[in-house]
């Protein structure tokens, strides 16, 4: 299979009610990623954007952003999900041999309309949507409680995930929620949304945009002397809420297995130097530890208790602060991908030493129904 590398990236600051239009935000990161990759618009063969009509409040949310995303008279498409899926589609277009250089750009300005309200529209309208208590947060709360009852994890473990990520975010200039000396108690006492989930355990919707430039192995080294190679990709989608095991992230396990197989990873805990996980809710990071085979089932709580996923730990997870430090919905997964690239290039603010293999994860859908995993490495 044709190898693909990430040769450039750009991220905007995650903020609320940004003093810029959607068009300016996309233009800023698209131009920034090209500059970072050392490519001109002429070098780009294809552009894949990521945004959704419900979040942007515009049917065909990409049609007025063609100029800003650099897609004018380019082979273009829009992934209507997380930005990491746009990066996946861009990689597939390169692997097919039809294209050599691709730009993937993603954005969401949550100020436009509350993303939590949009999640109500993701429910099956003939039955679930009739119950107006259901939305992403209350369903995630049910998922959290189910996971906790099986694994023995309690609210404190969830709070420890928040403390780790919110403290990590202090070093990340782009993070939205930074709490240098947040404590477990503070997390537990923050406003209760739907037990056990309090405000700090829920990723805060905000405005953000991100972009990456990908290139095939034939041209990557032309543009960039230290390309970050995509060594494995895994992607899977679970069944709908009512007929799936809510207490596990099965589709993440399937996705991780496939990514590990292509990347030649047998023991993820030992071989992966850092992981950037899209934890839309605190408990989902613990569930991800298990689905990513960093530990056995139910042992997620041990990893967080022992501090093994701290940036100095054996298996650092989310040195960037993760989604709990800022969730620009469609950009969140792509930002995880970029943070993983930064770790490999040694450009991360919260750098893990000797980082040669990184994992980036994106989730989509209610209770992380869909999951996507990238394995990145510093050599082909």
């Amino acid at each position: 299979m044709r190898r693909v590398a990430i040769i450039g990236y750009a991220v905007s600051r995650l903020e609320w009610d940004a003093e810029k239009t959607r068009e300016e935000a996309v233009f800023e990161v698209a131009k920034g990623a090209m500059r970072n990759a050392g490519v001109e618009r002429e070098d780009i063969d294809t552009v894949i954007s990521a945004s959704t009509d419900f979040l942007d409040g515009r049917t065909i949310s990409s049609c007025m952003l063609i100029g800003a995303s650099g897609a004018y008279l380019k082979d273009e498409s829009k992934a209507e999900e997380d930005g990491m899926y746009a990066a996946l589609y861009a990689a597939q277009r390169i692997m097919s041999g039809v294209h050599d250089v691709a730009l993937a750009v993603s954005h969401t300005h949550s100020w436009i309309f509350n993303p939590h309200q949009v999640t109500q529209y993701m429910l099956e309208p003939w039955f679930d949507r009739q119950n107006d208590l259901l939305n992403e947060i209350t369903l995630a709360a049910l998922q959290a409680r189910l996971y906790m009852s099986r694994s023995g994890a309690d609210e404190t473990h969830l709070a420890q995930v928040c403390v780790k990520n919110l403290r990590n975010a202090v070093k990340n200039p782009n993070a939205f929620r930074k709490m240098p000396d947040v404590t477990v108690e503070e997390v537990l006492e923050s406003k209760l949304y739907s037990s056990p989930l309090t405000e700090l355990m829920i990723s805060p919707p905000c405005d953000g945009a991100a972009a990456v430039v990908l290139a095939s192995e034939d041209v990557a080294e032309e543009f960039c002397d230290e390309p970050v190679w995509i060594r494995g990709i895994g992607n899977a989608c679970d069944r709908y809420l009512r007929d799936r095991d809510l207490g596990r992230l099965n589709s993440l396990r399937i996705a991780a297995e496939r990514a590990y197989r292509t990347a030649g990873i047998e023991d993820p805990f030992r071989q992966i130097d850092v992981a950037e996980v899209s934890e839309r809710f605190a408990h989902q990071e613990l569930m991800a530890y298990e689905a990513l085979c960093f530990c056995r089932e139910g042992m997620g709580k041990v990893l967080i208790e022992e501090g093994m996923t701290e940036v100095y730990g054996d298996m650092p997870v989310n040195p960037s602060g993760g989604a709990l430090a800022g969730d620009a919905v469609c950009a969140t997964g792509m930002i995880r991908l970029i943070e993983a690239v930064k770790q490999i290039r040694g450009e991360a603010e919260n750098q893990v030493e000797e980082c040669r293999t990184a994992l980036a994860h994106a989730q989509w859908g209610l209770c992380a129904q869909k999951n996507l995993v990238f394995i990145l490495g510093d050599r082909r």
């Binding site: 810029k20 068009e23 436009i112 529209y121 309208p125 949507r129």
Partner: protein
């Protein structure tokens, strides 16, 4: 025999809504707000892309072709050319309903009136605008005819100040 449309049974429906009006957006300052402000002095302005020389009307912040921000605001000519046009039949009640309001009933459009929609390019610009063509009978409208802007009596810096275009001068080719 005429049109055949297969009928399908109707099953129970459940209802729901999507408050599209509750969304909020942002426009760049200094573009459309300035464009209509200049209408107060009956001026049409656009933005010039210094890289390709195109003038966008209404003003545009980013030039797609050059992938750069447009540099300057410029005033453009009020004379233009009809590139294409549409002609409505004489309007009747019940034919044009917008947001639940019958436009003719409510008096926004006059009964029996024929609206001509011309797509006009003002001289020196790289954009075309859809504007009503007034002061002319529908049969006389020609592609390529010269037109000029028509302004409301009292222009207060609103989009509605630019009423449309009217025939400018007739060039007779012998």
């Amino acid at each position: 025999m005429g049109l055949i449309k297969e009928k399908f049974d109707r099953t129970m429906e459940v209802e729901g809504e999507w408050s599209v009006g509750a969304y909020r957006w942002k426009a760049p300052k200094g573009y459309l707000d300035e464009y209509v402000r200049n209408f107060k002095d009956r001026k049409i302005t656009g933005t010039l892309c210094s890289s390709c020389g195109r003038v966008y009307v209404p003003p545009r912040e980013i030039c797609a072709r050059c992938f750069t921000e447009t540099a300057e605001k410029v005033e453009v000519s009020q004379y233009g050319e009809v590139l294409a046009f549409l002609v409505s039949p004489p309007l009747e009640k019940g034919k044009v309903v917008i947001a639940g309001i019958d436009a003719v009933q409510a008096g926004f459009l006059k009964e029996g009136e024929q609206i001509i929609l011309a797509i006009v390019r003002f001289e020196g610009t790289a954009s075309s605008l859809v504007l009503p063509l007034v002061n002319i009978e529908p049969e006389k409208v020609r592609v390529g005819m010269k037109v000029k802007a028509v302004w409301a009596e009292e222009c207060r810096g609103r989009l509605a100040d630019l009423i449309g275009v009217e025939p400018a001068f007739e060039v007779k080719y012998e």
